[in-house]
């Protein structure tokens, strides 16, 4: 279960981790644009390198600006600690790194951001890690895919490109029955809409590039540890529960207790893999977090209105948004995302591939690009861009058929958003006529 706070979400969004700067009293978090930090003396340096005292050594491991963001995100998710990374993709790498050895496996929902499918099934193979992708709508399918080599279960709370919601509580039970942690990517929902740790998740990851920074201007990722999974209950996680040769035989779980996973993330993960978040990006993401609740309220309000409008539009074949009453995932949305079903979803345009292309080329306010979770409304036609290399059958299976458009609804005036889509759909329909 998550660490409860007596403070409300909005208060934590603004204050968690960010007391006035201890050196200067600066109220806004300063950008510590430095690579390294001086030692008081050789003994102090030795204590830091041995992990015997808290403090800064080198910017690849920790940075005071990034640390504020880490505490902020950990607080918002109700976790014990967090490790920020250069991107969402490196957050996934850092999340698995303490758990996996060569030859190990993990079981993941196959309903993932396309880039994650490639990372899990292709690139991770080079480390000897096997990502087993299954249909996680039925938790029993996940249970059957678990083997003695499995080290974790993975899903996205609200899956990209949209409409799909994971049954987090059921998946946590499957994972815990097998003695495994559940990792949930909470990028699309954000902790404002859903807190996976409250439903049994052990680790939560983010691409902070999306809604947390929120303005389409800062790359980043985060790994949040709930602090509640017992990594030392058996020998399955030797990186955490066995002596670590790189620190002279220190055992992370013994020395750091429930801090072990996050300390490992910095002291081994970032140290040796190196995907560190830039302090400037940490600052921009801190700034983004401060308005997260306000932005998410408007994102979901706008998304709901756009989805309802498109649902009745003559040029639209279907709308996959869990906020609509007819949606397959409506019940899960009401359980896990009661405030709203996010602001990224897909639609199918009548007229297929050519109509899809025409819409993305005809929008004036929407930006045609490969990102989500911006103040700006965004659109992409996966079949002609991100999923172009697949054959038509593979595109359909990936939810990226010829007629599919992915929308990320921004914070512009709702009438302008709808008018822009309407005129673009009208141009596509003239093409068909």
């Amino acid at each position: 279960m998550s660490i409860k706070s007596r403070y409300g979400f909005e208060t934590l969004s603004i204050h968690a981790g960010a007391s006035p700067d201890p050196a200067t009293g600066a109220r806004s978090t300063p950008i510590y644009q430095t690579t390294a930090f001086v030692f008081d003396d050789v003994d102090h340096a030795a204590s830091l390198f041995n992990l015997q005292t808290f403090g800064y050594i080198y910017g690849r491991l920790t940075n005071p600006t990034t640390a504020v963001l880490e505490e902020r995100i950990a607080s918002l998710e109700g976790g014990r600690g967090a490790t920020c990374t250069a991107s969402g993709h490196s957050a996934q790498l850092l999340a698995f790194f303490p758990l996996m050895q060569p030859g190990d496996e993990f079981v993941s929902s196959r309903r993932l951001y396309g880039g994650s499918v490639t990372q899990f099934t292709r690139t991770f193979q080079k480390f000897g890690w096997k990502g087993v992708l299954v249909d996680a709508d039925d938790p029993e399918t996940v249970r059957k895919a678990i083997t003695p080599k499995t080290k974790a279960v993975f899903c996205e709370s609200l899956a990209n490109p949209g409409g799909v919601i994971s049954d987090i509580e059921a998946l946590a039970k499957v994972a815990h029955d097998a003695g495994l942690p559940l990792i949930v990517d909470n990028t699309m929902a954000t902790p404002y809409l859903c807190r996976p740790i409250d439903w049994g998740a052990d680790l939560v990851i983010h691409s902070t590039t999306k809604f947390l920074s929120g303005h389409g201007n800062a790359m980043g990722g985060a790994v949040v540890d709930s602090g509640t999974f017992d990594w030392a209950k058996d020998d399955r996680f030797p990186s955490l529960c066995k002596p670590e040769p790189a620190y002279h035989g220190l055992t992370f779980t013994e020395t750091f207790g429930d801090l072990a996973y996050t300390i490992y993330g910095h002291a081994i993960g970032l140290r040796d893999l190196g995907p560190t978040m830039a302090p400037m990006n940490a600052y921009l993401t801190i700034l983004g977090c401060e308005t997260l609740a306000l932005r998410m309220q408007r994102h979901i309000e706008n998304a709901q209105k756009v989805a309802e409008y498109l649902d009745g539009h003559p040029e639209v074949a279907w709308v996959s948004y869990a906020g609509l009453p007819s949606n397959k995932y409506r019940a899960l949305a009401q359980k896990y995302l009661p405030k709203g079903a996010g602001s990224v979803f897909t639609i199918g345009v009548k007229g297929g591939y050519q109509a899809g292309v025409k819409v993305v080329e005809s929008v004036d306010l929407f930006s045609h690009l490969a990102n989500i979770g911006d103040t700006r409304s965004l659109i992409i036609h996966p079949a002609s861009t991100t999923h172009r290399q697949l054959n038509p059958e593979q595109q359909v299976a990936a939810g990226a058929g010829p007629d599919v458009l992915r929308l990320s609804i921004g914070l512009e005036s709702i009438d302008d958003i709808i008018r822009d889509l309407d005129q673009a759909l009208a141009q596509a329909s003239r093409l068909a006529a």
């Binding site: 007596r6 403070y7 968690a16 005292t53 808290f54 640390a67 600690g81 207790g257």
Partner: protein
């Protein structure tokens, strides 16, 4: 200002108010650490070194290391052999060894009995509390000091502290 969850079922030792931990860390000067290890990569050595750096005097107690010094301090075989006044006893032993240590802590006039992260013995706690000692269990003074001073946040941890003031213990 604390964030720790309310104690379930009225368990007074499930969580402690930040104010209590702060008052202990402010008032205590000398800590006897039972189970202090001379091996530099043991958790007790980490905690002892950190607490020394923060200005506490830490006296190691370890019958297996008598005749040695740890971090410049003479090692004693038991609490009762320490000639100096001890404010707090920090137990770095398995939970079942806590009761006789609690008796010794009472005998030498310690004000606080602290059991490390993972160490909890309710009978020992009750004995010490009846004798007027303040008892903290299943916590690490290093982590608590780091959490309340903001240092723990340097490593991305959720300290639970919200404040518009510059931090100090």
């Amino acid at each position: 200002m604390t964030d720790t969850s309310a104690a379930p079922g009225g368990d007074r030792h499930a969580s402690y108010p930040d104010a209590l931990i702060k008052s202990i860390l402010r008032s205590v000067k000398t800590i006897a650490m039972v189970g202090a290890s001379p091996n530099w990569n043991r958790p007790s050595y980490f905690a002892m070194k950190y607490l020394q750096d923060k200005g506490y005097r830490v006296i190691p107690v370890n019958p297996g290391a008598v005749g040695q010094e740890i971090l410049g301090e003479k090692v004693y075989a038991s609490l009762r052999e320490i000639p100096d006044k001890v404010d707090m006893v920090d137990i770095f032993r398995a939970s079942e060894f806590a009761p006789p240590i609690a008796d010794d802590a009472i005998a030498i006039g310690a004000k606080v009995l602290w059991m490390q992260l993972g160490v909890r013995n309710d009978a020992a706690a009750e004995t010490a509390e009846k004798a007027g000692l303040t008892v903290v269990m299943n916590r690490c003074p290093k982590i608590e000091y780091g959490r309340l001073s903001g240092e723990l946040g340097w490593h991305g941890f959720n300290s639970g502290v919200i404040s518009s003031k510059r931090r100090k213990i």
